[in-house]
């Protein structure tokens, strides 16, 4: 029972201020090591789940109709690798612009008082340029009628 409070204490490792290279590395490792291990374990979990049906599989129970593409009971008409609407590609490109905009806003938003109004207003200029681009895209109808 004595170990239980210690067990709950482990969950947060109170990081000392980084004074040398070794402590900095130690802090980073202590923050990311659980995530790396967690990534490996979640990979294992999903891949093991994928591999579970193999003992129960049998080669003889598949036939061409079962494996063909589903088209509501009809035979598949034409090839599935056909052309698709350009608007999906356009949506992706129009996502790429605001995505780094927001990513670059993260370092601006977080520090408490270290950026003076100068910092805030320069970020506003950046957002203004991108907003003008978004307005142009809206008016030209690039994200219309999908």
């Amino acid at each position: 029972m004595r170990l239980l409070p210690g067990f709950f204490l482990f969950f947060r490792y109170a990081a000392p201020p980084a004074r040398s290279e070794r402590t900095k590395w130690f802090v980073v490792m202590s923050e990311f090591a659980p995530i790396c291990l967690y990534l490996v374990i979640s990979l294992l979990v999903s891949l093991i789940l994928l591999g579970l049906p193999f003992p129960f599989a049998s080669n003889s129970s598949t036939y061409p109709e079962k494996l063909s593409a589903y088209e509501c009971g009809f035979d598949p008409f034409g090839d599935a690798r056909s052309r698709f609407d350009i608007r999906f590609y356009l949506v992706s490109i129009l996502f790429i612009i605001p995505d780094p905009e927001v990513t670059f806003s993260f370092p601006w938003a977080v520090p408490p008082n270290k950026i003076d109004p100068f910092g805030s207003w320069s970020m506003m200029a950046f957002l203004l340029i991108l907003t003008i681009g978004s307005l142009y895209e809206w008016k030209r109808g690039a994200s219309d009628r999908e």
């Binding site: 709950f8 947060r12 967690y38 999903s46 063909s68 599935a80």
Partner: protein, 363 residues
């Protein structure tokens, strides 16, 4: 006597080895990870049962009742059935893409659980970029959808995958902008700090009161990210059969199913952490001055109360999501994309600018 002395010397030598402590530390990391994975699994089972029961209540019928008492083992029964189903790979489908698609969706969601504080400081890893990890990793999910849609060699699946990916990426921007506003308010991206910043005045310290527009935009965006009704188009049964999940059977379909509920759970947990001060006892300071200290101490009992409070708040949003699913009709794809790009994006950007100006003028 000689044997005793050498034994004692060996034991002293062994405990002074530095490497022993590091191995012990690495082993000590596994225990929280396994507990977290176990907790997530049990939660998904519970959510599947919840969805069936709540939808049964809304539709005025009886939900699951045969598997276990009150049907609580329904999800286990479903999973076991799916395990024994035939694992088909469609002809001329791309085997690698087809197999990895569902795993990618599941893995990207499971990793986000490592930054949620279930109790005070009770988090798998307290990163200083906690919330940003969730945003970044949830951007990987559309890749899994595209892989599944393309690898199925089916026109309907391909179209469903494209639509699902377009929907996912369209609603990520308003989501990220809302999170950005919260991190502006709390001056930190770490989830533990965000929860701490809401712990001062009990109930009135919630970010919900400071960011009401952001809260509503976040609610809508997370429903769209999880592909729940009213944003259900990728799996609209009448239109695309099952969208990108059409050609899947067996445990791969089970992975998509589980991924959907995992996504719902993590989004609800993030709503509580970001907006509701998750794991803080939210009774205002005036009435319970001794509870105020409980918000900041360690201890088994306090941690259990923290976990319970987080889960209770999360349950509220799970209930809201499930009720919304069975109440509202579905949006068309163009209405959906218009809502994301032309309505939510300007509103969340305006919310961000409002928050910035309030921070600037209060400095």
């Amino acid at each position: 006597m000689v044997i005793d002395i050498t034994e004692i010397q060996d034991i002293h030598f062994f405990f002074r080895l530095e490497s022993f402590k590091e191995i012990y530390a690495i082993l000590w990391i596994f225990a929280p990870i396994f507990i977290l994975v176990l907790g997530i699994t049990i939660s998904v089972l519970a959510i599947v049962w919840l969805e069936r029961e709540i939808s049964a209540g809304i539709q005025q019928r009886i939900g699951p009742e045969y598997t276990g008492p009150f049907g609580v083992l329904q999800a286990l029964a479903d999973g076991t059935k799916l395990l024994f189903k035939e694992n088909l790979i469609p002809s001329r489908g791309d085997i690698r893409l087809f197999s990895i698609g569902p795993s990618l969706s599941v893995i990207s969601i499971i990793i986000s659980y490592s930054v949620i504080p279930f109790g005070y400081n009770f988090v798998l890893s307290d990163l200083n970029i906690g919330v940003f990890l969730w945003i970044a990793i949830s951007s990987i999910a559309p890749i899994g959808l595209l892989m599944s849609g393309y690898g199925s060699n089916n026109k309907y699946s391909f179209l469903g995958g494209l639509r699902a990916a377009a929907q996912s990426i369209s609603y990520e921007i308003p989501l990220t902008l809302c999170v950005l506003s919260i991190s502006l308010l709390s001056n930190s991206l770490s989830t533990v700090d965000i929860v701490d910043a809401q712990s001062k005045y009990g109930f009135w310290g919630w970010n919900l009161w400071r960011q009401p527009m952001g809260f509503i935009v976040f609610l809508i965006s997370y429903l769209a990210e999880c592909e729940r009704l009213p944003f259900d188009l990728p799996e609209a049964e009448e239109e695309l059969v099952a969208g990108y999940q059409t050609e899947y059977s067996g445990i791969k379909f089970g992975l998509f199913y589980v991924a959907s509920y995992l996504n719902l759970l993590i989004s609800s947990l993030f709503v509580t952490v970001l907006y509701l001060g998750g794991s803080n006892i939210s009774i205002p300071y005036i009435f319970v001055s001794e509870f105020f200290e409980i918000n900041n101490t360690y201890g088994v009992f306090v941690t259990i109360i923290g976990i319970f409070i987080t889960l209770a708040k999360t349950y509220l949003f799970l209930f809201i999501s499930i009720t919304t699913r069975w109440t509202l009709p579905r949006l068309r794809i163009d209405q959906l994309l218009n809502l994301g790009w032309k309505f939510l994006l300007p509103i969340s950007l305006g919310n961000l600018l409002l928050t910035t100006s309030s921070q600037l003028f209060s400095l």
